[in-house]
């Protein structure tokens, strides 16, 4: 086992055993069980679940990411004094935290799903939802780690990270809408598709809604979106964009941290 997997193992182990990882998983378990049990309509439950996941997964990943990054500073110093490659330490910590968050989310949704096993089609929907949740986890913990390395002051860093979340979750959509209103006279479908690629929350939302609310998204120019997001290549582009949202902040983070003084 190389040092990277060791670091992943221990930071995963460390976070996974904390009460909040448990709480996080339990929360999704309770929410999804409640929704699936009481709504009676699988798709409707999934839409509600989607809203919750799109809101909370980025927020919680951001908060945990920032807290973890700042709180483990001293321990990181201890690790840095050990014979370890720098990148492995930080990549390991990132992956450890991300994986434990993903596991909590996955278990919460997974157990609920086993209890209310649906059709094959429904499993695909839920799988897609879980995948998007996992990707969002990776994206927003990555952004949080990046913020922690860019801002020494943890209060400032925390604020900035929350702002990033707020921007992606709400403000971006407001600006997008303003943009659409202002340039209403121009054909904007393609531009809009492009713009959604720049917001991982929007992108995840559309990817899942295309499965759950096909009817509505097919309306109007929706067909254009469906032609893009609904095809295999559009799907690949979207997932690729989400992966870039993980990779780019992470690469910047690792480069910054490589030359950072502790």
């Amino acid at each position: 086992m190389n040092s990277l997997t060791k670091i992943i193992k221990y930071s995963f182990y460390d976070t996974w055993r904390s009460w909040w990882a448990l709480l996080y998983g339990l929360f999704f378990l309770v929410i999804s069980v409640t929704l699936l049990y009481f709504s009676g309509d699988f798709n409707k439950a999934l839409v509600s679940l989607l809203n919750i996941i799109l809101l909370l997964v980025p927020l919680i990943s951001t908060v945990f990411g920032v807290m973890y990054a700042y709180n483990s500073r001293e321990f990181t110093e201890l690790l840095l004094a050990q014979p370890l490659k720098r990148n492995n330490i930080f990549l390991g910590q990132y992956l450890g935290l991300t994986l434990s968050l993903m596991l909590s989310l996955g278990l919460g949704l997974g157990i609920a799903f086993i209890l209310f096993a649906g059709t094959a089609e429904e499993s695909v929907h839920l799988g897609m939802l879980t995948l998007c949740g996992a990707l969002l986890t990776a994206i927003f913990t990555g952004l949080a780690f990046l913020v922690s390395v860019l801002f020494e002051d943890r209060v400032k860093g925390f604020g900035i990270a929350i702002l990033i979340w707020l921007f992606a979750a709400v403000i971006y959509d407001g600006l997008l809408l303003a943009f659409l209103v202002i340039f209403n006279d121009y054909p904007l479908e393609k531009a809009t598709i492009g713009l959604t690629l720049f917001n991982p929350i929007d992108l995840s939302r559309i990817l899942i809604l295309l499965r759950l609310e096909t009817a509505a998204l097919l309306g109007y120019t929706g067909a254009v979106f469906n032609k893009f997001f609904g095809t295999a290549s559009g799907m690949a582009v979207s997932l690729g964009a989400l992966l870039l949202w993980i990779i780019i902040p992470l690469v910047i983070f690792l480069r910054k941290v490589q030359h950072k003084d502790f």
Partner: protein, 245 residues
């Protein structure tokens, strides 16, 4: 053992280290002194590779440490503040470091030496500050490294443990280890240090034995000698500030 050549480091406009040249031998305890911001910690962190100097080179056992991490397996480090992954217990922490370093360790010896038996299965976040410091000390010693670095080791330690730590440090020196130490406690310096390195404004202001220092400053004891040094440094700083103004 440790060769430091013309190290310089600035944080923004602040020149923290400004051309440091020293060579540290084995079998000696070096105490790094100096006012806050004089560059002690930065120097130590440079040796550990936590901070990367802008200029100069550091050799450990003739090996340049730049872009190198393997040399750290020969160093034991006890930082000033002890913070660990909250949800691991002490033994897991030790096992993890052993896992990372892959060198033989005799942690049991130090666990009993510092009376840490009761802490074995406790989560690290539930340990007191002093106990955490002892855990830190065990981490530094357990791999029997050639170089030991202590950053304010006495902080938070109870008197008995402090005494035990000092004994251990001497013992290790006698085994031929190179030991680096920063501290504010002058009795510690007097008791332990073979050589004192006084840093000021990122430069070595004095380097020599305790006796040497006392003599050069024409004082009766180390405390007064240090005070004298500090006084001089303050004057110098003021002058510098005036010049700058």
């Amino acid at each position: 053992m440790i060769e430091i050549r013309n190290i310089a480091k600035a944080f923004g406009k602040l020149q923290v280290l400004n051309g440091i040249d020293i060579s540290l031998e084995k079998g000696k305890i070096y105490a790094f002194l100096g006012p806050n911001g004089s560059g002690k910690t930065t120097l130590i962190k440079s040796i550990l590779g936590l901070t990367q100097p802008d200029k100069g080179e550091i050799f450990i056992q003739d090996e340049n440490i730049k872009d190198n991490w393997r040399y750290k397996s020969r160093i034991g480090y006890m930082p000033q503040i002890a913070r660990f992954p909250e949800n691991l217990n002490m033994m897991e922490l030790f096992r993890m470091t052993m896992d990372i370093r892959k060198t033989p360790a005799n942690e049991e010896k130090y666990i009993s030496y510092f009376n840490l038996e009761d802490a074995r299965d406790k989560k690290l976040k539930n340990l007191s500050g002093g106990t955490k410091q002892k855990v830190n000390a065990v981490l530094a010693f357990m791999f029997n490294p050639d170089i030991l670095i202590f950053d304010e080791p006495s902080v938070g330690l109870d008197p008995v443990s402090h005494l035990k730590l000092k004994d251990l440090i001497r013992e290790e020196r006698d085994k031929g280890k190179t030991i680096l130490l920063t501290t504010h406690i002058l009795s510690e310096v007097e008791e332990l240090a073979d050589e004192v390195i006084f840093l000021l404004e990122g430069k070595i202001y004095f380097k020599g034995t305790v006796q040497n220092l006392v003599q050069t400053q024409n004082e009766r004891n180390l405390e007064r000698a240090i005070a004298q040094l500090l006084l001089q440094s303050e004057k110098k700083t003021k002058k510098l500030n005036l010049k700058a103004a």
